[in-house]
Structures are given as structure tokens and as C-alpha cells.
Symmetry: C2
């Protein structure tokens, strides 16, 4: 489709760069940009002549008319282009660069809007509305290719109907915000498109992972950062690693002989868990009393708690009871930052019990691990250095783009011992480099996404102090919210006292309920308030915050702050918005 | 730091756009680009005045001197900027856009080189060399932030010392290539930075996943695409889902009562497995005879095979033997495309046995599933529609960027039944939209990365026919390679007959070994040939292909072709490169 390079390349370049400048607008500049960046004259001339040809075909014109016209011209531009004409197609370089820059334009425009408080957090539509093809947005896949123009429209629509998780007023999840350096890291990661499997195919990323894990272990407090670890697709899988490693440590023969080689093992965890759960994730909460883990046929004891925290005396009583019944207590999870209350289990007291009964101590810091970066708040995880393993998700409190979760292990060799397959057809021991850098034999996966780079890059860019500032700021904001509403009319706290993490749990009581006496009617009506306010919030698109029931407590709002864009004015806005939407309920 | 908007915004814009054009080079154009894209006059003027201010400070100058100088000017530009000045910082928009465009420039330059055969596939360094900080590339993290200039240098270095997995001569893994539309999809995904957990926070992505899974089930051959499924972080985890679901289907009480509620279960798989393994991944291959799975305490039988394929008669004999011993045969994996040989198990014959003995049939098509898109090659998976579950990784044969793996389930409701937690604090049933669209309760994860968008976008852009063409082309290339080397002097095939998939397994026999008689000496020397050639390949950076031993076969090359950039000339190059490097061994 594109003609090949004429000989008079250099001259042609200058002439066409002039023409492109004459066009002035977006496309002209892009083309000039290519021309300048590219030092190879033949390539320049190839691009130029293709531009010439396409101009001649009137696919694009050069007048300086207004914005709307420009936009349409760009559409025309891509309407005759298809994916098959992009690289690696012959002469695919120019359309590739044009297409990618057009995508970047869509993305940067989205980023600008994300941080703009005058825009909505979301433009809500019901599933059936989107499925019906609202405003021409067609989600169906077809046999025949669509033009790149359509692909660009689809990209715009995808963002339009999505949720701006980086918006300063998005508080709905533990993972919020849009870190620009982290984003750049993700863009690079997907461009590199490799796999953490071996040093051979991911040399730089494998080393970055190793150094970052060591730094994290130092911060946990293990001497010289010794130990092991790996990044996994999320907290649930990091926690799963911890159970597997603990079992391997105490009963290595399970690996070759199966569970028959081990006694009946017991795990202990609190009902209030980190959102990433695992151990607890595999619990069926439908049956009461005994709860059984799903993946591991290990008995699982749920511990009593106070304000979301495990009561150590209850843990010890349950351990004794399990031993009396002939079971072997294996594993205790101390949660550092529960999903709903943001509570921190007393790690030191739990560690004492683990030492006494020779159990594996796992700290699930998926949500709360980030507080280790803060000199002011890390005391909430005192004793974490006594853990055998720690889950810590930088994609939550530290604002790293999803997915980024680490499992850290104090004893070196267990990860490899537990997961290695001795499979020469996957890992060749006779390679020319030091194959101890290959990570594939430590992982439960083969293909493993590069989750490290964005995190490494953010750490470089912010420094340890930058993470500390971010965390201190978020905790300050949650204290601000707590102080603002604790005595405010119409608000009622779910638990007393300042929150330990950024979780602030509260009910909004509409005026119509304020005079009702405590009792079933009030409970039932209050239970419906948060869902109604949330629905209106989503319809109006102004902000988003989560709600849920917990135990015997009816639906309440759980505010969490991990969004670096949030300020006190956004907290004020949220409170007033809840009042505005809920006032007449 | 940046001044606020003056009132004479519109005029100022024009004036400064002129100045920016006067600067001509990269930066000027970028600024003009911003100005033009941005229709808001106040914003324009803010950007302009910040540009003015910075120019006055001599952070950038406007002369037209040569390339080197320009580069340095850009460096100066970012050397005083830090991550904390990017969005959401006040006036962070301009530095954010500049920084991101600079990153995009690094990435597009990398993409151009990736597809350029005159560049290397990799620039190999040993781990200790990179760790020592080669050419100033410092991987260590520090407490204090680095300037954005340093961050950009780090991005360049990361790519420089990495491996170009999209290079037309990169054949090292099952996942190769760099699809431009897929890449655009990943860039958008990371910009949207959300989580597949609920419709609430990922409305568009959740629907795309649903529609794409349905399309995949239609292609598998289930009536009307009925059934269920989910995208997971990789084939190992997709396969893990299948085991969990099978166990839940036959013994649902395991979920609430633990494995004690089930008899001793047996899984059957071949030793030749898909690279994503799982079931088989958890096998310890160190002990022979009985192999035990790691995560599931279920006996695992390895089946005999011929040319990598399961022998159905052996499967039936092993099932009968297991039953005789009092075990319950639960689950059979038929591999569609083994890692090394690319072999396809005879699914129909295995399905007959599964029906006869009431066992779950799982087809692991992580590698071979893509062939379902090809009318010419899909017969190799005949019978797949009889499977109860199918693993299919678009990130392998279909060229979708890593990670993208689907587990498809024929019976609706099992995924949810197996994994649901009835946890109201995670999933609120009283939301205003149809919560059956929430996927969190089907998944073993809570936070789940958006893996669907890039795949959906590629499908839109290529159409089903585009995937078909890609797959047919790759298989043609492997037939071309097979025909080229099967009778070529110095080459010896590991198995006879045309390959079923794109895997071509062969030895290169250097002249010094050609006259050696079969025997231990020849075996031992041949075993060292592939590693040596591979090491030289990596040192010279010309191409990359994998090698491994398998069973009693010494190290051989395993060529796999999934790279859309590869052509016959690249295959020729590979063969000649092996001869060149191996000739004197």
C-alpha cells in the first residue's frame, strides 16, 4: 500500500517537513516529529512518501479549519487503516506510530480529566444498557476486522463508560489513585512484554525483583534483608504461598508422598481478614462452627476478636483444644489491616503463642503492610519481624498500579524447595549464566507477569520518603474524617476510638430515623440507607465509597483512603454529599 | 511553582504557539500539541505561562542546533523535576504530559527497533555485571527521590539491557511477538487501573469478559456458547480452577466439610504437559512411580505416551487399577499442545473413557487452544466440545500480551458454587444493578487484573479471521522449517513426521560428531551442543531459541513459532546461525 523510498530522501524530508508544518495541526506535527526523531534518511523518506501518497489520495487534507473539522479528518485518516497494516507489516512503521500516538492522546486526555474535580467519577449505566450498544458502543466481537478508526472510538468509549479510579473522589476500594510514574512503568512493562520465568528473558526485571524484595525484607526487619520472596498476582495467591511453604517446612514429605504423610493440620485465622484473604478466602462461611479451607484440606479455626482484632487468649485456648483432639496446629495468620475495620492484630502476642506451640506465623499485611514505610505508623505492625512469612501488596496502600503483591519468607530455600519441579525441560541447569537467578522454579506459575517494574520505578522516583509521606498523608486524612464526623449530627461510628488504618466505618442516620428508638425497625430501615445513598452517588457520578454489613451490624459506609489525589476538601465533599443524598430518606 | 492563568489567554496562546513553532524541535511541537488539543482557554494559558516562566529560567532554550544538543536540553528539562510535581500536584498537568510523552518517545523508539532485523534481540550481560551498575545503570533503591531525568534514563536502560521478545528472531518462548493493538490495549488497561472484582468498578471490562468468554465457548463448540468461565493470571491457575471445580462437582460437601468428606481421589495426566501444567505442575518428579500433586492431596497417575501423546488404552488400564485399589478416579487432563513436542492428546478417545467411568475431562489447551481459531487446524482438538473444562491462553499462540489465560467451564454455576464465600462484606447483594455481573465471587482472587481488554481490542481489530491467518501462518512456517531441516546435513529430528503444532524439535550435529557411532560418548557430547550454541547466540544477540532434554533424550532445540513478525527468511537465518555457531564444536 505504501510506496517505497525515493532516492532524493534528504531533500524530500525537508520539503515535506515544511508541508507538514504548513498543515500545522496535530497530524502535521506528528509526522514532523517522526521525521526528526528518525536519523535514518531512507526511513524518513519512506515515511514522507507514504504521507505524500496518502495526502494525494485525500485521506487527509491540510487546511487550518477549526477543531471539529480536524477531529473528523483524523477519523478519516484511520478509517482505511487496519491492524494488519501495523508493524510487523511492511511499511507498517508510520501507521504504527500514528496509531499509538493517537491512543496516547486518548489516554492523556483521560488522565487530565481523571484529576479534574469538575468531571464525574463515573457515568453509570446498567449492564443491559451497555449490552444494548449505547450510543453505538458495540461490545460484540465479529469475524471481520474493524478499522483502526473504530478501534480508537472503542478505546474512547471504554474509558467513557468506565470508572475513574484515580479521581480524587474515588474511595471505593483499597486500591485507588493513578500514580503517573507507576503508569509509565506499566506502559514500559507492556511494551517489553516479557515473563519473569528466567533471567534469560527478563534479566533486568529479575534483578529488580530481587533487590526490591530484599529492601522490603529489610523494612520488615529481618537481619540484612535475608530471606526469600516472590511477586504474585495478588494477595490471595501470596497467602496461598504461605500455607504451602508452612506445610512444606513442617512436613516436607507431603511434597512427594501426599497429605497422607502429614497429620490433620489446623490453621488459625480471624474472621476479620484482609481483603486478600486466601486462607480465609477458601472458607465457606455458610456453615457455622467448623470452617474448612477450600484448597487445603486442613481444619481452619476462626478466632474471636475485639474491634476486629484477634484476642490472643482465644488463640491459645483454640490451639490447646485442637491438640487435645489430636490435631497438629500448623499456621496462624495475624492480619495487619483488616478489610473492613482496618484493624491490626497484636503480632507480638500472637508470635509468643506461635513460638510456644511451634507454629508458622504468617502476617497478612496485604492492606496494612504499607504502614511499614512510615516511621510514625509502623509501630502498628510491631513484631512483624518475628513472622515466618509476610504478604504485602504495594498495589493497595502504596498506590502502585494493580497487580503488585509480594510474599516475603524469612527462611531462604523454602520457596524453591516447596515449588521446584526438577524439570529440566523447563529450567536448563547447563546455561551459561548463574541460573540461581531464574525464578520459575520458585513460582507456582510458569508464565509470570512483570509486576515489579512499575513498583521499582516508583520507588526510585519517590524514594522511601515519598512512600512515607503518602502514607502519613492518607492516615492524616482519615483522622480528619474521623474527627469531623464522630460528633456530627446524623453520623454514628461503627466502633469507638481513632481508626488504626485509613478505614473509617460509620452510619449516616437520615433525619427520619434519628428519633426512632433502637430496635428491629430502626435496624431494618438503617440497613437500607447506605445502599440507597450509594446508588444515588453512582447515578450522579460525584463520588464513590463502599458499604457493607459486618456480623450483626447493618450496612454501614467503609471509607478508605489510599488515593494520593484526595485532599481535605474531598473528604468534606464526601460528607456533604452523603448528607445531601441521604437527607430525605 | 507554575504561575496561574493570565486573562489574555487566547492571544497568549497564539503567540506562544508561534514561539513554540519557532523552537521547531520536539519540545516546541509537544507544547503546541497540548495547546491545540486543549479547548479550554484557561488551561491553555496556564500551560503557556508555565512554559514562558520555565523558558525565562533557561530550563529550555529555543535555538535550532543539532540533535545532540536537543537531547541534552531535554535532559536539563527533567533534571529539576520530581515525581511529587506530577499530577495530582497543583499545576502538575504540564510536567505530567511532558513526562508521559517523553516515556512514549522512549517506547516508540524501542518498538521501532524491536521490528528492525538489523538490531540485536538482546544485549546480554551476566547478573553480576548488571548488579555492579554497568554504564551507570544503578538498580539499587534509595531513600531519597531521583529526578525525572534519572527516571527516564532508567527506562531507557531497562529496555536496553532487556530482551526484545517481539523481535522477528525471538523464538525462545511460547509467548512471543509484540502486537501493536494488544499493546495499545495494555496501555489503556493500565491507565484505567481498575479491578475485575465487580461491575461497579469495571463495568465495561466485566461485560467484555463475559462476551469474549461466550465467544470462546462457541468456538469450543458448546451449544450457543453456554457455560461459564473466567480469566486468570495464567494457565497454571486456570488449570487449578479446573481441579477445584471438578472436585466441587462430584463432592460438593468438600467445600463445607473438608477433604475428609471425599474418598481418595485420583487425577490422570500425561508426563508431557502444557507449559502451564498445574495439575502436573504440582507433581514432584523427583520420585518415580507414584506422583502426588502438591496442592491437592489427590493421587496423580502419569500416563504412558507415544510421541508425547497419551495412549488411551493405558489410561483405561490405570483407571481400572485405581478403582481396584479403592480409589475414585476423578479427573483426566488431555493436553492440547504439549510444551516441548506440541503434541495433541486424542481427546475423543479420552472422552469415551471419561464418560464410561464418570470422570471430569479437562482439556489443557493453554498452548494449543489457539488452533481452534483455524478451520485448517482445529481438527487437532476434535472432541474438545466433550470436555467439562478447557484452559486456553490467548497470551500464547494468539499473540496477546502476557497475561491472558481463560478457564472455560461447560456447566454454569459451578465456578460460583465452588468459590463463593457468601461474604456480604465483600459483595453487597443489595446494589442497584444486577449483581450477577459481579465476578468476584467466582474467582479465587479478590483483586483481579484486567486481562480482557487487550484481547477484546485485538479481536475487534483483527476479527476472528485475523487470528486464523496468524495461526495458519505460524503453522506454515513450522512446516517450512521442518521440511528445510528434516533431511539437511547436520540436523536430526527428535521425532519423525510433521509437527502437529509449531513445535519443531531437533538436534544440530556438529561435523566433529557426525562420524561418531551411537553410544554414550556421542550422547554426552551432543548433550553439550545445544547449550553451547545457545550461549553463543545470546552473547552475539542474533536470535534466541530454547533447548532442553526430555526423558532419555539429550538436549535438543525446541523451535516454537508464535511470533507474528517471523518470516521464512527468519527461519532461514535461524538455521544458518545454528550452523555458523555450532560448526566448530
Amino acid at each position: 500500500k505504501y510506496s517505497t523510498a525515493p532516492k532524493s530522501a534528504a531533500k524530500c524530508y525537508d520539503a515535506w517537513c515544511g508541508v507538514a508544518h504548513g498543515c500545522t495541526r496535530k497530524l502535521g506535527m506528528k509526522i514532523c516529529g517522526f521525521l526528526q526523531k528518525n536519523n535514518n534518511l531512507e526511513e524518513r523518506s519512506r515515511i514522507v512518501s507514504s504521507f505524500k501518497e496518502r495526502t494525494a489520495k485525500n485521506l487527509l487534507s491540510c487546511d487550518n479549519s477549526g477543531g471539529e473539522a480536524r477531529f473528523r479528518r483524523t477519523e478519516t485518516d484511520f478509517s482505511n487503516l487496519y491492524a494488519r497494516e501495523l508493524l510487523p507489516a511492511k511499511n507498517g512503521e508510520e501507521p504504527t506510530m500514528q496509531f499509538l500516538l493517537e491512543v496516547v492522546e486518548i489516554l492523556t486526555s483521560y488522565i487530565r480529566k481523571t484529576f479534574d474535580r469538575s468531571t464525574k467519577v463515573l457515568d453509570f449505566h446498567h449492564p443491559h444498557q451497555l449490552l444494548e450498544g449505547i450510543e453505538g458502543f458495540n461490545l460484540e466481537l465479529s469475524d471481520q476486522p474493524e478499522s483502526l478508526e473504530q478501534i480508537l472510538v472503542d478505546c474512547r468509549d471504554t474509558l467513557k463508560y468506565g470508572v475513574r479510579t484515580g479521581h480524587p473522589r474515588f474511595f471505593n476500594q483499597l486500591s485507588t489513585g493513578l500514580d503517573i510514574v507507576g503508569l509509565a512503568g506499566e506502559w514500559l512493562t507492556s511494551t517489553a512484554n516479557t515473563n519473569m520465568f528466567t533471567y534469560e528473558i527478563a534479566p533486568v526485571f529479575v534483578l529488580m525483583e530481587q533487590l526490591t524484595l530484599k529492601k522490603m525484607r529489610e523494612i520488615v526487619g529481618w537481619p540484612d534483608g535475608e530471606g526469600d520472596g516472590i511477586f504474585s498476582p495478588g494477595g490471595a495467591i501470596s497467602n496461598m504461598y504461605s500455607v504451602m511453604i508452612a506445610r512444606y517446612k513442617f512436613f516436607p514429605e507431603v511434597k512427594t508422598k501426599g497429605m497422607a504423610a502429614a497429620p490433620r493440620l489446623v490453621l488459625f485465622t480471624s474472621e476479620h481478614v484482609s481483603q486478600t484473604l486466601t486462607v480465609s478466602h477458601y472458607i465457606s462461611k455458610c456453615s457455622s462452627g467448623k470452617n474448612i479451607s477450600h484448597l487445603d484440606e486442613i481444619l481452619l479455626h476462626i478466632l474471636f476478636f475485639s474491634r476486629g482484632r484477634v484476642i490472643p487468649a482465644d488463640l491459645e485456648a483454640k490451639v490447646i483444644e485442637a491438640k487435645r483432639k489430636g490435631y497438629v496446629p500448623l499456621f496462624v495468620t495475624a492480619t495487619a489491616g483488616t478489610t473492613v475495620y482496618g484493624a491490626f492484630d497484636p503480632i507480638n502476642e500472637i508470635a509468643d503463642i506461635c513460638e510456644k506451640y511451634n507454629m508458622w506465623l504468617h502476617v497478612d499485611g496485604a492492606w496494612g503492610g504499607g504502614l511499614l514505610m512510615s516511621r510514625k505508623h509502623r509501630h502498628k505492625l510491631n513484631g512483624v519481624e518475628r513472622a515466618n512469612s509476610v504478604t504485602w501488596n504495594p498495589h493497595k496502600m502504596m498506590g502502585v498500579p494493580l497487580q503488585c503483591s509480594a510474599i516475603l519468607v524469612r527462611e531462604r530455600g523454602l520457596l524453591q524447595g516447596c515449588n521446584s519441579m526438577c524439570a529440566g525441560y523447563l529450567f536448563q541447569p547447563d546455561k551459561q549464566y548463574d541460573v540461581t537467578y531464574d525464578t520459575g522454579d520458585k513460582a507456582i506459575q510458569c508464565g509470570r507477569h512483570v509486576d515489579i517494574f512499575k513498583f521499582w520505578l516508583m520507588w526510585k522516583a519517590k524514594g522511601t520518603v515519598g512512600f512515607e509521606q503518602h502514607i502519613d498523608k492518607c492516615l492524616d486524612l482519615s483522622a480528619y474524617l474521623y474527627n469531623k464526623i464522630k460528633n456530627r449530627e446524623g453520623f454514628e461510628m461503627v466502633f469507638n476510638g481513632e481508626p488504626q488504618h485509613t478505614n473509617v466505618c460509620f452510619w449516616y442516620i437520615p433525619p427520619s430515623l434519628r428519633s426512632l428508638p433502637d430496635g428491629e425497625e430502626r435496624r431494618q430501615r438503617l440497613h437500607k440507607v447506605a445502599p440507597k445513598i450509594k446508588a444515588m452517588m453512582m447515578e450522579s457520578g460525584t463520588t464513590m465509597v463502599g458499604y457493607q454489613p459486618q456480623g450483626d451490624k447493618v450496612n454501614f459506609f467503609r471509607m478508605v483512603i489510599s488515593n494520593p489525589a484526595a485532599t481535605r476538601s474531598d473528604i468534606d465533599f464526601l460528607v456533604e454529599e452523603i448528607e445531601r443524598l441521604g437527607h430525605d430518606l
